[in-house]
Symmetry: C5
Subunit: 383 residues, 5 copies
């Protein structure tokens, strides 16, 4: 997968450095502000790509035609090369990498009679996950998350599916290898998949998407552990920004995972011939995984809140520690300094100064005073 030029929400690692911090910030801008303003005042159904992926390359169209016995995979350049589709015992999976290519999208829309408002949603990569039933097609839009080890980043990607009677359209923002395992299973003649039709194929893709949420959550869980471990050490580092970044990641993950639950629930109970009952049983499994991902996410939110509380108390505690040192030092030496100041005065008539034992007695007195104060602080448990 080509990740150069991609920016997304990054999970900040605990060994954060300044330089990476900057990169994170830049990624943030993309994430916070959906650039929808360019679409204002356009009539509904206008096809304008809204997203952070630079259209550096042309969209790639991959076509896989298969049934229980036959499997064919090829790349096409133009949408016309797709048609006509093979009839129904065959399933045709058309995967389009790069939704920024508005021209291709328009052609696909025309070829498969997609509703203009939905094409618009596919192009708008800031879309909320949803599913729609329209004119004997099912439209599904979900978010996939991918972990980029180089930049220590979670990269969101919008995946749109259109389920037809004998075809499945899938749209990705970037060319990715997330679905390679499914292609492999198709190639190696997995009977369940080969005979399942577009519904089972869509299930497999959704299952892959939801399974990947656990990957992202595992990364975040790892960061939480690292944070917790670092707080247990004697010199807890400044984890403020790390906490803040993980919190932000969780907010965005939540925003995108939460509606997926609804999407899958709708599919599961949909009264449509495009999804067989067997597929709906499998969808229940995906549904439960989504619930579990949400559960884990909520648990992480709670844990993160706990870690933040803990850190703030550590700060308070440390402040107490510092103040104690200052107070003990000052309280012990300020009276002593006063005493030596007294005998540094230049009065003519100061009998103590002339006494032979004056100097040692002052020392003795000062040492006793210091010890008494130390004992006082000891009893107060300040030292």
């Amino acid at each position: 997968m080509d990740r150069d030029g991609r920016k997304g929400n990054c999970v900040s690692m605990t060994q954060g450095q300044k330089k990476r911090g900057k990169r994170r910030l830049w990624g943030l801008k993309k994430a916070i502000v959906p650039k929808r303003s360019q679409k204002i005042d356009l009539p509904p159904g206008s096809l304008v790509y809204v997203g952070s992926h630079q259209p550096t390359h042309k969209a790639v169209i991959t076509v896989i035609e298969y049934n229980g016995h036959i499997f064919d995979e090829r790349q096409v350049e133009r949408v016309e090369d797709l048609l006509p589709l093979k009839p129904e015992p065959f399933t045709t999976w058309i995967n389009i990498d790069g939704v920024h290519d508005e021209a291709i999208l328009a052609q696909v829309g025309e070829a498969f009679h997609l509703h203009p408002l939905l094409l618009e949603d596919i192009l708008n990569t800031d879309q909320r996950p949803k599913c729609e039933f329209m004119e004997n097609l099912i439209y599904i839009i979900v978010k996939m998350f991918d972990f980029d080890g180089t930049q220590q980043c979670l990269l969101p990607e919008q995946v749109s599916l259109v389920i037809g009677p004998n075809f499945l359209l899938s749209f990705e923002e970037e060319r990715g290898d997330e679905f390679d395992a499914i292609r492999e299973r198709l190639r190696t003649n997995s009977q369940r998949l080969r005979n399942g039709g577009p519904g089972y194929l869509a299930y497999s893709l959704l299952d892959t998407v939801v399974d990947r949420y656990f990957l992202s959550l595992e990364k975040i869980g790892q960061s939480l552990e690292d944070l917790e471990e670092s707080l247990m050490s004697d010199q807890p580092p400044n984890i403020l920004q790390d906490v803040h970044h993980i919190k932000r990641e969780l907010i965005f993950l939540r925003k995108y995972i939460w509606p997926v639950r609804e999407v899958i629930s709708t599919l599961q109970h949909a009264d449509t011939s495009l999804l067989t009952q067997q597929v709906q049983v499998y969808l229940r499994d995906v549904y439960e995984h989504t619930i579990q991902a949400m559960d884990t996410l909520e648990t992480y939110r709670d844990l993160l809140a706990g870690i933040q509380d803990l850190y703030l108390s550590v700060l308070s505690n440390r402040m107490n520690e510092i103040m104690k040192v200052l107070t003990v030092m000052s309280s012990v030496f300020i009276p002593l300094t006063f005493i030596v100041g007294v005998y540094g005065m230049n009065f003519e008539h100061m009998p103590e100064l002339h006494s032979h034992w004056g100097y040692p007695l002052v020392w003795v007195f000062m040492i006793l005073l210091a010890l008494w104060m130390l004992r006082y602080f000891k009893r107060k448990r300040w030292i």
Copy 2:
């Protein structure tokens, strides 16, 4: 658009200055306190303008009559000039800028048989967004937000629509250009719009209103980014008031956007001949945009809470930093000052004073003591 004399809720920018701050505060007063008290003890249905826009100019009535083939646009002075409306293949869009003009409103109410309670709501610009079905008319009241670049302000404006069988009434507080794009599309013969009747026209206006929410949210998102970036710098500025102002903006946006969701949902499922099924499909799209605006708004609330937490921790951390400097300086020098005080005493019998090596030895001792303390603080990671 004439914005002089308008005040509203301002989104505070991060480079806030005192002078602008004052202006914001003044704007706030208008926003927080709805001046409904003047209406108390009046009988229900009394037409009294409640709002912050000074009635500096007369209301402007713009009339657009169109069907698939014919388009006519004109301004009228008196309400009587509107009547009679052209019959049903024609749609008449009557736009009234300036709801403060109670006389005009009363005439419009009479001409179109509007219910007095609803006329009252149109005049009361502190109204909660809502929609009502009454006597074969649909009344819709929503809030639009506009960004004023000069004052760095979000300006709320109440937009009321009345959908009739062959006409649409729209009421705005100020003369604005928000709907010019729709007028332009009407002029340039957009068939869908020209043939859609008042229902589709109302949909178009609502779509424009909701799309503008994203503009406001984008501005706030930008401010959030600026705040976050400024917190990452070495010398985070005081962002308290900025945080507070954005929080207030979000509270007010939420108050006005949240009921819009309900309004559009009601329209979408309404069993009325005024809205065709095709319009209701389009309304679903607006509904989803409203949900997405709310999602974004909630996300911003969470982010803002995170930024506030981060800032407070930065403050705590900085306090720790300051205390460390104070404690290190005091703890190192206070014992040394005590020592030099000792040898500043004027006792007659102080053997050290007469020793030849006394002075250099004291220096050596003091330097060793200071180094030992510095090492201690180093080990504690305070320096």
Copy 3:
């Protein structure tokens, strides 16, 4: 209205003084602790007045009899003087000021066949707002709030209504002028009101009660503005107690306004001949006002929470400011004091003391040291 001897929940104003603070506190006791304990172990239906108004005067019974043409208003001493009521084209409005008069209440209850449990609720002025349908009567209990300018106080008052087929009973705790506008409209022959029967009259009273909530909310909004403005100044005052008092007012307002929503909703959808369909349309308007009052109240809660956060951060910031001054002063002068201490020592052999340039050189060194430290703090942005 006679307000001597009344105490309630006060909205604290920002220019709070000690003396007023005391008065507030005393008012609070009444508010927090409902004195229901005196009723424990009494059988259900026992008529005991529970409230804060001292029974200083006798209850006043005002009777208004009207229909479309005739209007008669008089005060009666004894309940028997009320009967018999004029037959149904007439509506009789009986207003009883002073529910503390248990004897009168018992007579009214007997005369109009009121259920003992409901009479008990009318007497118990700590009652939760509610409505009940019983034996062809509708019982409504709501709370009205009144602003007392002298004590800067919100004063709660319980208003109970009983709607019968041709009469309306209204019970107030004190003689008040809140309903005078309605009496005036009755006198001046407002046809809608005169022909509306007891249902429309009850609606008018409820509308007045709910409209007055906005008055109270406006006062609180004004206080919020004052607080916010004072926080923006250079020397933010101590606003803790003001924040706390407004918070308390909001808690109590909420407690009493929230159930009103339910009451009006129940009335609106009630299947009863006592409320005509026209009245139920008007009740929808009241319902919406209640929702709006709740919305405003919630907004104020959020704003108040924001103001509190802001104030706490202002405190933290100011502490930082103070610490910086202390640290800069100490850090600059403590080393200098050490240096002059060194040359105040009385060692016999201190070559610097005898050097001609010693004194000026020490000055030069100290000035350079101070400048260096100031530059260091400058770079840290502490000064």
Copy 4:
């Protein structure tokens, strides 16, 4: 009532002392940890007493038999003495004080055919309030709270009722006088109670239980007032532990009152011949009281949170105050001490020392410096 040996959740009063604090703590242990572990691995339906009341005395069985004309009250030793019950115009109320007596419970269970699982619940005094309909009996379990003036404590007690066709069983943990008012009303021939049957009697007992919640809430309200008043004083005391204890009391009260709402609602809408329609009207009244108790409790929670916030801000403010004093003292005197240190140096060549005006001029300079600094702090409002 015999309260020796009883421990429960205590409402901490504001004049808390150490000794009482210890007692509270001990009470807490009982409250927090339900000792259910002794029941683990026993088969369901095993009768084991789980509670904090030591079985110091034998259970007391009081029997009251009455109808409209006849009233008979006696204590029995053995369960057999109860039987046979008088036939249906008679109602038999059997009150058992001391559920710790497992043998008696088992006999009662056998005699009245009680389900073993429910007998188990009656014995387990950590039971959640609930009601069950089984085999023409109604089982009700609720919690009563009693205020112990000696220990300043709220004492929870579990009350279980079993309603049969012509009898009512009531189980209490301790012999108490809470229901004496009802016994008195029975004796003095209150017709409604005497003719109401076991349903009306159960209602009267529940009414008493719920009315007593207001007693407990009044005590807590009083404590809240005391706390608030003490915070308004010039020297607010340390109210942390008091706040914490009241919070704990509220948590436990809430835990036990909340399900009572559900219990009464179930009874109110139950389709059973054991509760007449008249009783269900009365139960609505109890239901409303429960709602009101919950409302008050929630209000107290909010108030307590407000008091806690206020106290924390008071702490912050006081810290600011302390720091200001320290900073002003240090900042004024540290430079002066440096100056006098300068002229305490022993350099041979210090021209100022020999000047006649040196000493007074230094004084003048120091006084001016001090005044200037004081003016500076004055302008900063620190003094």
Copy 5:
């Protein structure tokens, strides 16, 4: 039970030591991060063990066959030895300890026709509690918690049940003695259990699992008490990490107990011949215990939040205490040190120095000054 090598979520005790702290941390890693990533890209239904228990030993299969008269218990090595099951008057309970043994699981799955997706769930010990009805079998997955006294740890264990017409399969992660009491009751001929069939047996197991939640909650309650008690002492220790660990335990307990409520509710209302009506009555009892466990858990969460607030206020208070000591010491001695510094100056013309009473007068003045300051601080209640 063999606990070596087991790791789970630990409840931290208040006498926490560093060493144990480390062990806890290690345990945490297992708990936070479910290791599902190894399953990504595998086809659905793949049997891979996901869990923290090392497969150190082979799975143990225990078979108990019983009816009202006959009881037989044995261990088998291979799954084939189980078959054929005895016909329906007999119930066969097959308990498999060690779900890590994927081969055995696959054989069991085949022998009893278990659905592959559910077998997968049984192996995946990070499963959310759930129940499923499929092909005349009921699948139940719940979590059991066990307290390990050596490591002061709560150990989670997944228990899966499969209810068939005449058999019950139970799967545990480890060989445990939790169900020994039930085996004992079976052996000793408890008629209810012996005749209840697989439904009653499943109820008994679930009852044991839920009862054990109270054991865990008791341990946590004990820790809360210890924390509270330690906070009441004069020198409250640092309880931050203990609070954090208990919070984490509660988060995980909640995550696993909450769905159990739903599981049992589903079973209770299921329309299946596998559960008799009598069993469903008993399940209601388990349901209530689950509700009560959740109630207790929520109460503990509230209590823990209260303890945390209390601790933070204790910290603030202590900081105030420290600052007061520092301020009093500094404020008293700094002016005195200035005074003695004045008379340590070496001006030639200082008349006071030559006065005979100068020295004692300075002492008198300093003592008076010190007393005045102490009185000032006394009045401020700082000392």
